[in-house]
Amino acid sequence: MTDLTDLGIADIRNGVRAGTFSAREVATAFNANVAAAKALNAFLIDTPEHALAAADAIDAKRAAGEDLPIMAGVPIGMKDLFCTVGVEARSASKILNGFKPTYESTVSQKLWDAGAGMLGKLNMDQFAMGSSNETSAFGNVISPWRRNDGGNAALAPGGSSGGSAAAVSARLCPGATGTDTGGSIRQPAAFTGISGIKPTYGRCSRWGVIAFASSLDQAGPMARDVRDCAIMLEAMSGFDPKDSTSLDLPVPHWEAGLSSNLTGKRVGIPKEYRLDGMDAEVAAVWDKGIEWLRDAGAEIVDVSLPHTRHALPAYYIIAPAEASSNLARYDGVRYGQRNLPDGAGLQDMYAATRAAGFGHEVKRRIMIGTYVLSAGFYDAYYTQAQKVRTLIARDFERVWDSCDLLLAPTAPSAAFALGQESDDPIAMYLNDVFAVPASLAGLPAMSVPGGLDSQGLPLGLQIIGKPLDEQGVLNAGLAIEERAGFTARPAQWW
């Protein structure tokens, strides 16, 4: 019999529906993989009983002859910043030690309603602030991938959804939730040879998702292929009155709408993304992607997004500003950890709690955010950045006159070694240079594997679409997937 953990979301659901195997068998197989992969540090908490209970419910439904929902019998990994009832949610930060939500995030509830179960909570960069998973308070996630030089250097899985990426890539789960504020789904997907999509801002409810930068945060699926992403995104999306920025629109049937025929589509190649000194292998995969889309029937056009180079610095004003405000809630009073020095008053307790609870990168971003929002600097930094953000969004609005989609690399390099870039924050921030513009404009964007570099490591291709055109993005992703023939997977060493 096939190893059930080699199956993706669609195959699992279809097999459970057909009775080829039971949902319990699937959950049991993935629970075993999770338990055997501690060396990756991808899961912070294992919840095998949750996966089994969801599976049993699906098996009972099938036995009763009921129709099975779109993720029936699919066990998934849940990024640690989603609140799920009764299971510690810490956003990989010590400051939330012991926090067991008494409520369920809208996205996770939708996944359970769609028949999924939870294998566990996935490691991540602390409060989603990072591009390598090195800011987690609970240790680095180790990428399942290794270079082909025999050196066995521990590589970064990317971040912030590094646990999600590592777990999907290593077959610990067929799909995982991610969140993307400035590339946190797409960059780790690229680093680990999987697919991931950030939908249009407002498609997935932010309710019950531990906030980083609210005007940018969007949840999305990470899975092994485009079809699986379409299924899982469909399950996660939808209007939620509890999120004031949720879009009150019907959820399209993205899986049913998948088509890799791009005839009539124009794909723009933004010249500003071709950076001086660009990694030659990244550029080569981009060129291949252009050929693949042309082969799928698309017309390729050269386009310009003139404010691209200002996106990253604007992001590093806006995101910390929002973070400093969002993270003000961690005060040692209502949830999580409290540090109360002897004889301390309320203010000292706040400061001691936050000093002990937040990691260095989180403190740095809170303080940068506090500074750019402070009296006398607000207009020079924050207002200026929000104006630049308008210009970046306008670049995209104008480019849609000449194309329907954009194709670019996902990240400027393949995965780097853990520790390699952690000393220089700006070098680390540059990982998201291609990902951040779409985030600032709220656009749907996806990463799909494009191939391996000469070190044997995956490189991703990014497709950016018009607002609400997830279907166009998924279809172009499918066209690339069919032509890239990416079947590489990390050799199991863990």
């Binding site: 407002g202 590093y316 040692g332 600032l440």
Partner: protein, 101 residues
């Protein structure tokens, strides 16, 4: 203008910011943060060169209207759930250190 401001961040400023952000930091930590702060601020200062004449700051990436709902109670009566995660809940309230002598 941005450049001058960025250069002016010294340990006194960083200490003030840490205080505003309610993060206790030792003098050594403050000193270590000064160059990191200046590095990041020096890098974002390039935004000052963008011509934003007549440009409105972004307020919403996707056109959306903030909805109003009927002014009725839709939630509540969950005191124990609200307090369930408090480090020091007492008598149905959040407990904090004494603030009045």
């Amino acid at each position: 203008m941005l450049a001058d401001q960025a250069m002016s961040v010294d340990s006194k400023t960083v200490k003030k910011i840490a205080s505003l952000a309610r993060i206790a930091m030792s003098d050594d930590e403050i000193e270590a943060m000064v160059p990191e702060f200046n590095g990041i601020l020096g890098w974002v200062e390039q935004l000052g060169e963008v011509d934003v004449t007549g440009v409105e700051p972004m307020t919403a990436v996707i056109p959306n209207v903030l909805r109003l709902r009927d002014d009725v109670v839709t939630d509540g009566d969950i005191r124990d759930k609200v307090l369930a995660n408090a480090p020091a809940a007492e008598h149905g309230f959040f407990g904090v250190p004494k603030v009045i002598e």
